[in-house]
Structures are given as C-alpha cells and as structure tokens.
C-alpha cells in the first residue's frame, strides 16, 4: 500500500516538473509585463476544467498551468483577448467562462443588480420624501 502511495507521489512530482520548467523558460524569454498582465486578466476569467469553480489563474493544478501557457502564447501570437476566450469557448463550451458573456439572456443577469440598486434608490427617495412630509417637526 505504502509503495503505491509513493509511486503516486513520484508521478505527481514527475507530472508537474516538466510543465513548470516550460513556464519558467517562456516567461524569462519574453519578459513582456504587458503580455503577462493581459494573460493574467484573461486567465482569471477562465474556469479550470479539473477543479471546482477556480479560475485557471488561481488553480495550482497542472492543466491550469498549461492552459495559462496557451493563453500567453496566443496573446504573443497577436490574438485579441476576445479571440483567446473564443478559442476556449469553442473547445469547452460557455461553461469555461467564469463570467457569462453579456449577450442574449445573460444580459438579464448583468442588468439585474444594476436595476435593483437604481430601483431601490428611487424607492427610498420617494419614501423618505413622503415620510418626512408627514412629520414636519423634528422630534428633538
């Protein structure tokens, strides 16, 4: 049993080392802070497929690291952030986006909080005006 555990430990290590080595060499080769920042911003909106709810930016999993590398490479190759996202949506479906696109029915989701606050502020304005009018003298 213990042996099997150790075998797993070894493979886990083995799996991870090569990929991080790649990531290292790339980021030192093109140390473009601008690209890095844009890659991080995009990665933060892509959901890690092998995790639960984490973005590929946050996830320590190996696939997430490889996906971050893909994001970066595509940016270096001149793709726009929208094109990079579209690539991942084409492979994984809309599920991959941690914030739904502002299209179609999703607009309702995005509009809801805004309308809620605007409506609430309006309601409070009306109510405060109405209720203050009823008691013209402050009770101090």
């Amino acid at each position: 049993m213990m042996r099997r555990v150790m075998v797993r430990a070894v493979f886990a290590a083995a799996m991870a080392v090569p990929c991080t080595a790649h990531a290292q060499s790339q980021s030192s080769a093109t140390s473009d802070a601008n690209i890095d920042a844009r890659a991080a911003a995009i990665s933060a909106t892509l959901r890690c497929p092998v995790c639960q709810g984490e973005s590929i930016q946050d996830s320590p999993s190996e696939l997430a690291g490889q996906m971050r590398a893909v994001v970066r490479e595509q940016l270096v190759a001149g793709r726009t952030p929208d094109e990079v996202k579209a690539y991942f949506v084409g492979r994984y479906g809309e599920w991959i986006l941690l914030e739904p696109s502002m299209t179609g029915m999703n607009v309702l989701l995005w509009a809801f909080p805004v309308l809620l606050v605007i409506g609430g502020l309006w309601l409070i304005a009306v109510v405060v005006r109405k209720w203050s009018a009823q008691t013209p003298t402050p009770d101090s």
Binding site: F11, A12, M15, C19, Q66, M67, Y92, W95
Partner: protein, 196 residues
C-alpha cells in the same frame, strides 16, 4: 387575511421551487462538449508505446490525424495514475484488434504523465494493441477540451468528431459507433487537414 397579496407571493415562490426541482433533472458534472459535429482538431504526436502487430507503430514515429482521413479514428486520453482507465483498457485494446482489418485507427494519448510510467502501466495491464503517443504540454488535450481522463473521442471518416465519451468506455459503445460510422460511405477527400 389578505389573499390577494398571498397569491402574489405564491406566484413568486412557485417558479423558484420549480427551478430548484429542475435542478434535480440534470447532472451538474456532465458538461456537454461543443466539439461533436465539428471538425476534429488536428494533431501531430510522437509514439512512445508501439502497440502490437498488426497495429504497431515505431516508437518515435509521428502520428498525424490527417493521415487517417477516411478512417474511423478513436482517440483515447489516458494516464497511468487514472484508476478508471484500468476499467476501459481491455475493452479498448480488444475492440482495436477486432477492427484491425477495417478502416479504423486507435490512438492512445498520454495525459500529464511520464512515458516511463505509461510504458510500465501498459505492461502491467498486459499490453495495449494500438500505439500511444505523448502530448507535450497537453496541447492536444486542451485542443480537445479535455476535462479529465479517461475521455474518448470518435472521429468519423469525414474528419468530424462524431462522439465524445466521458469516463470509461465499453466495447459495446465503441462497436456501435464504429459500425454506424463505417456504414456511412467514407469520403476520400477529407477536410480534417485544416490546421487550427
């Protein structure tokens, strides 16, 4: 009692309860892939495990999806650390052998694993009839929208992905798809070559 207001409240609550009830009819983990029906992403991957005659390929050879145009291609992503891969291994290996004389091609893609561990796993499992390839930095896996292993893609002779299978696949499912795809007239001029 103010029944009118009660009714309005109930009218708001019932759709919410309905929505939650709807939640039961679906599996949050089953995420449909957008790929079936679309052209299979191309790959050029190096063989590390040769497979067995008559399906064997030399170690180091590059398997290109485009050379398999006109065939039914079964692409299986696996890893030595994946427990469920052990369940499907025999079915895959035997199905590949059974269809050896038909226009089919099986490819195993090793996912986030070391080739030494993969080779050892194959010998521990009693061999694999078809070749397996390595996937550097999981580029093919990401191109195929992989969520985990095992996952199996069945590609039609025209180069389109016909089916994606999550989890261990069985001979029955493999046979059903391969048979139905083989009966479709295979087109010689395939479009699976377009590079993404």
């Amino acid at each position: 009692m103010n029944w009118k207001r009660s009714l309005i409240g109930v009218g708001v609550a019932v759709p919410i309860i309905g929505l939650l009830a709807f939640g039961f009819m679906r599996d949050p983990r089953a995420i449909p892939s957008p790929l079936p029906g679309h052209e299979a992403p191309a790959f050029d991957l190096a063989v590390f495990a040769p497979g067995e005659a008559p399906l064997a390929r030399k170690v180091g050879d590059t398997l290109r999806l485009r050379e398999f145009a006109g065939k039914v291609v079964v692409v299986n992503f696996w890893a030595s650390w994946c427990l469920q891969c052990q369940d499907e291994h025999r079915d895959l290996s035997e199905t590949a052998r059974a269809y050896a004389d038909r226009p089919t091609q099986f490819v195993g893609v090793l996912y986030n694993d070391r080739t030494t561990l993969g080779t050892r796993w194959i010998s521990e499992m009693g061999g694999q009839s078809y070749p397996s390839v390595t996937d550097d930095r999981s580029r093919a896996a990401i191109n195929y929208g992989l969520y985990g292993v095992p996952e199996t893609f069945i590609i039609a002779p025209d180069g389109r992905i016909a089916y994606k299978h999550l989890g261990p696949i069985s001979s029955a499912v493999l046979g059903k798809w391969i048979d139905s795809l083989l009966t479709l007239a295979p087109r010689a001029d395939t479009t699976a070559v377009a590079d993404k």
